[in-house]
C-alpha cells in the first residue's frame, strides 16, 4: 500500500515535470517560428514575445495558478491531517468513483463560479464595482511579462528568449505595475457601498501603499550588486546569478558557490519576501480580507467577479514565486554543473533541448516557492492592522536602508561580490542561529517576563515573516 502510494506520487511528479518540459520545448519552437514568420512577412520583430505571452503567461502562469486552488486545499489538508477535496468525480468508464487527487474539483469550482448569480448591490457604484475585479487581476497578471523563464537561444534561425518583454527599465516596470493593483482592491471596497467592504478597502490600500516602499528598497541591493535593473538577457540579473563566485571543477563537473541572490542578499531576500507577501494580501497579511473580522473588501462580490479576486491572489503567488526565482534563486540556472551541461555535444547541436531543461528547472523552483508560501499561509495567524504598519515602517524600512548601505559599501570595497557573499553567509548563519537556538527556560517564560518588552531575544520564530515582527 505504502509502495503503491510512492509510485503514484512519483508518477504524478514525473508527469508534471514532463509536461512542463514539453511545454517549454513548445515555447521555444513557437517563439522561433512566430519570430521568423513575422520578420519574413511583415518585417517586424516581437513574434517571440507574443508566443511567450501565450505559452508562458496564459499557459504556465494561469494553469499553475488554477492548479494552486486545488493544491492549496490538498496541501493544507496534508498539513492539517485531513484528506482534502475528494468528492467530485468524473463518472466515465474506469474513472468512475475515483477522486483523481481532487482534480475534478477545479472544474466544479469554475463551473460554480461561472453559473452563480452575478449579484450587485442596488446602491453600489456600478462602473467602479465592475472595474474593481479587473483592476485587481490585470496588473498582477502583467507582472510576469519581464520574468525570464529560460536562456536566450538560436531557434529556427532566430534568437529567442523565454520572456515576454525585456525593457531597459526591467524591475521598475514590476514595481510600477505592482502598485496599480491597489486600485482594484480599494475601488472594490469603496464601490460596494458596504461598511465592511469599505474597511477592507481602506486596510488594503494603506497596507499595499506602505509595503511598496519596503518592496522597492529591498531590491536596490540586488540592483547595485549586478549593476542592472533588467531581469532577462545576458546582462540581466537572472543570468548573472549563474556565474560562480568561487569555482572548482570535479571530474568535468563544475561546482562552486554561484552568485544567487539569496546568498548575496539574504536580508534583501527576507525583506522582499515579507513585503511581497504583504502585497499578495494572503495570511498572515490578510487583514484586508480578515474573514473573521470584516469579511473583506470583496464581501459584496459573487460569482466570477469574486472568482477574479480569488484567482488574482493565486496568480500573485505564482508571479511572486517567479520573481523570487528570477531575482534571488538564480533564475533558470542550476547551482552547479551549468557549464558541464552546456558543453555536452548533443546540447550544443540542439540548444533548445537544454534550454527547455533549464526552463523546467525554473518552473520547479517556482512550484517549490509556491509550496513555501502556502506553508506560511497555513501556519501563521493574522497580524493586526497596526502591527502590519509597524512591521512595514519600523522594521522592514530601516532594515532595508541598513542593508542598502552595507551592500553599497561592500560592493565599493570589493566589486567581485565575494565579500558581499561572505557577509551574506554570515547573515544567514546569524538568522539560522537566532531561529534554531531553543529558548532558554521558555517553559514558564510567561510568568517571568510577561507583558511588553523584554522579548527582543526571542525575536525570530521559524519563518521569515514573524522573525521580523519583533517590534517591541
Amino acid at each position: 500500500m505504502k509502495m503503491k502510494k510512492w509510485i503514484e506520487v512519483s508518477l504524478a511528479i514525473g508527469f508534471i515535470i514532463g509536461a512542463l518540459y514539453g511545454l517549454m520545448a513548445a515555447a521555444y519552437g513557437l517563439s522561433g517560428l512566430l519570430e521568423g514568420l513575422l520578420k519574413d512577412k511583415f518585417g517586424v520583430s516581437g513574434g517571440a514575445g507574443f508566443a511567450n505571452l501565450l505559452v508562458l503567461m496564459l499557459g504556465c502562469v494561469m494553469v499553475i495558478a488554477t492548479a494552486l486552488t486545488l493544491a492549496e486545499r490538498k496541501w493544507s489538508a496534508m498539513m492539517q491531517d485531513r484528506i482534502g477535496p475528494n468528492r467530485a468525480t468524473i463518472d466515465i468508464g474506469p474513472l468512475k468513483g475515483r477522486a483523481l487527487g481532487g482534480v475534478p474539483h477545479i472544474v466544479t469550482d469554475v463551473l460554480k463560479l461561472l453559473t452563480k448569480e452575478d449579484f450587485q448591490p442596488a446602491t453600489a457604484s456600478k462602473f467602479l464595482f465592475n472595474l474593481g475585479p479587473i483592476l485587481a487581476f490585470a496588473p498582477v497578471f502583467a507582472l510576469f511579462a519581464i520574468v525570464p523563464v529560460g536562456p536566450t537561444l538560436e531557434v529556427a534561425g532566430q534568437k529567442v528568449g523565454l520572456y515576454v518583454a525585456n525593457p531597459d527599465f526591467g524591475l521598475l516596470y514590476m514595481l510600477g505595475i505592482a502598485s496599480l493593483a491597489v486600485y482594484g482592491t480599494s475601488l472594490a471596497g469603496w464601490a460596494s457601498n458596504n461598511k465592511f467592504a469599505l474597511l477592507g478597502g481602506v486596510r488594503a490600500s494603506s497596507q499595499m501603499i506602505s509595503y511598496e516602499v519596503a518592496l522597492g528598497l529591498s531590491l536596490v541591493g540586488m540592483m547595485i550588486a549586478f549593476g542592472t535593473v533588467q531581469l532577462a538577457g545576458p546582462t540581466g540579473m537572472s543570468e548573472m546569478q549563474g556565474h560562480y563566485l568561487w569555482k572548482a571543477t570535479v571530474g568535468g563537473l563544475d561546482v562552486g558557490i554561484p552568485a544567487w541572490g539569496f546568498l548575496l542578499q539574504p536580508v534583501g531576500f527576507i525583506l522582499f519576501f515579507a513585503a511581497a507577501f504583504a502585497e499578495t494580501k494572503r495570511a498572515p497579511f490578510d487583514v484586508p480580507e480578515g474573514e473573521s473580522e470584516i469579511i473583506g473588501y470583496f464581501v459584496e462580490y459573487s460569482g466570477m467577479k469574486f472568482g477574479l479576486f480569488m484567482i488574482a491572489e493565486f496568480v500573485e503567488v505564482v508571479v511572486l514565486s517567479g520573481v523570487l526565482t528570477a531575482i534571488f534563486f538564480g533564475g533558470w540556472t542550476l547551482p552547479f554543473g551549468n557549464e558541464a551541461l552546456a558543453s555536452v555535444g548533443f546540447f550544443q547541436d540542439h540548444p533548445w533541448v537544454l534550454g527547455a531543461l533549464f526552463a523546467t528547472i525554473f518552473w520547479v523552483k517556482v512550484i517549490l516557492l509556491c509550496y513555501l508560501q502556502l506553508a506560511i499561509r497555513w501556519t501563521f495567524p493574522r497580524f493586526r492592522y497596526d502591527q502590519i504598519q509597524t512591521l512595514g515602517w519600523k522594521i522592514l524600512l530601516p532594515m532595508g536602508l541598513v542593508n542598502l548601505f552595507v551592500t553599497g559599501a561592500l560592493i565599493l570595497w570589493d566589486p567581485t561580490l565575494r565579500s558581499l557573499a561572505i557577509a551574506g553567509g554570515l547573515e544567514i548563519a546569524l538568522i539560522a542561529a537566532v531561529t534554531l537556538v531553543p529558548r532558554g527556560g521558555a517553559k514558564d517564560e510567561h510568568a517571568e517576563d510577561h507583558g511588553h518588552g523584554g522579548h527582543g531575544a526571542h525575536g525570530a520564530t521559524d519563518a521569515a515573516a514573524p522573525a521580523l515582527a519583533a517590534h517591541h
Partner: protein
Amino acid sequence: MAHDEYDPTPSNDELEAHLQTRNMVVNLGPSHPAMHGTVRMKVELDGETIVKADTEIGFLHRGFQKSCENVTWTQCIPYTDRLNYVSALMNNFGFLSAVEKLIGLEIPERAKFIRVIGAELHRIADHLTATGALGLELGAFAAFLYGIEARELIQDRVTELTGARLTTNYGRVGGLNRDLPPGWGDKVLRTLTKVEELCGEVSALLTHNRIFTDRCRGTGVITATDALDFGFTGPCLRACGVNLDLRKQKPYWAYDQLKFEVAMGKNGDNYDRYLIRVKEIAESISLIRQALDKMPEGPVIVDDRRIALPPKDEVYGTIEGVMAHFKLVMEGIQVPAGEVYDATEAANGELGWYLRSDGSGRPYKVHVRAPGFHILSGVGKMIEGRMLADLIPTFDTINMIGGEVEQ
C-alpha cells in the same frame, strides 16, 4: 482652553473649516463569523478604534427556565444539555448536584469519581474548542483543526459513555443511570495520551508564535477589581490573578481526594486566558488519570426506590418494581419543599443553580447562573478604546457559549 476671552487674531487652524467626520456604526452579528452563538455587537468605530461596543443577546433564547417548570426533575436533565452544549456533562452533573443538595442526598463513591471523570473530559473538550477557535479566528486554521481532532477523540469516548456526542443526558438524581462500559477506562487513558500529543501541536503553533503573542498580549485586558465587579468566574477571573476555583474552595464529588493545581495568570489579558486554558487541559488530564486509578467498585446510584428507578427485571417481575417505576416516571422524584443554591466549577466558571421546590414532583423554579452571561457583560469594557481586530481574540478567550448565556 484656559482663556475664553475674544481673540482678535485667530490662528489659521481655527479659520479653516475642518472636514466633518462621523463615527461609523457596524453591526457584528447576530450572523457574523466571529460572533459564535448568535450574539450581536453594535460597534461604534472611529477608523479602526472601537469607541463603544454594545452587546445584545437574546437571539438564542429558548425558555429553559420555563420549560423546566413543566417537567419532572429528571426530565430537566436533557434541557441542561443544551446550556453549554460544548460541555454538556458538566451541566448535567451540576444540576444533579444541586437537586441532591436540596434532597440532602449522598451519592455513592463510584458515582462521584465518574462524575469527576466526565466533567474533566468535557472541561478538556471545552478548553480545546476555545483555544482552537481562538487560533481559527486569528487565522491559524491548523491549530483549530488539531484542537478539534483532540476534541473529537474525547467526544467519541463521551459517546461510548452516554450514547451521544453533545446531548449527553447522563446522570440521574442520586448517581448515574449506567456504569462505565467495559474497557472504557483503558480507552480513555490511551485517548488522553493522544490528546496530550495534539495539545502539544496546538501549543507549538500558538504559544510562542510571535504574531499570536502580539495579538493576544495586552489586548482584552480587565483588572481583577473590574472582573470581580462584573461577576467573572473561572479561567477569565483566574487570568486576572484571583485564585477562585470551586473545586478547591468548596470541594465537591471526589475533588478533595485528587491532587491538582489551579492554573493562574496575572495580567487579565487574552494571552493569560489562553495559557490558563492550556494549563487546565494538562491538569484535567492528570485529574482523570488519578480518578480512573482511585475509582472504587460499587453501585453508581443510590439504592432508594423514591429516587432511583428500579432495575428492569424488578420492573417487569415484581409489583413493587412496577409501582416504583410508575410513580417515578409519572409523578417524578418528590423533592422536599425548599430552596437551594449550589454551584460547580464548569469550564468557563461558576455554574450556579438556584432551585426551588414546592414539594411536588416538578421544579417550582430553576434558575441558572451561567458563567458566560457575566463575562459577556464585561466585553464592552474590555475592548472599548481598542482596535476592531482586538475584539476577535477577546470574544474568543472569554468563550461565551450562546446556549447557556441566553438559555
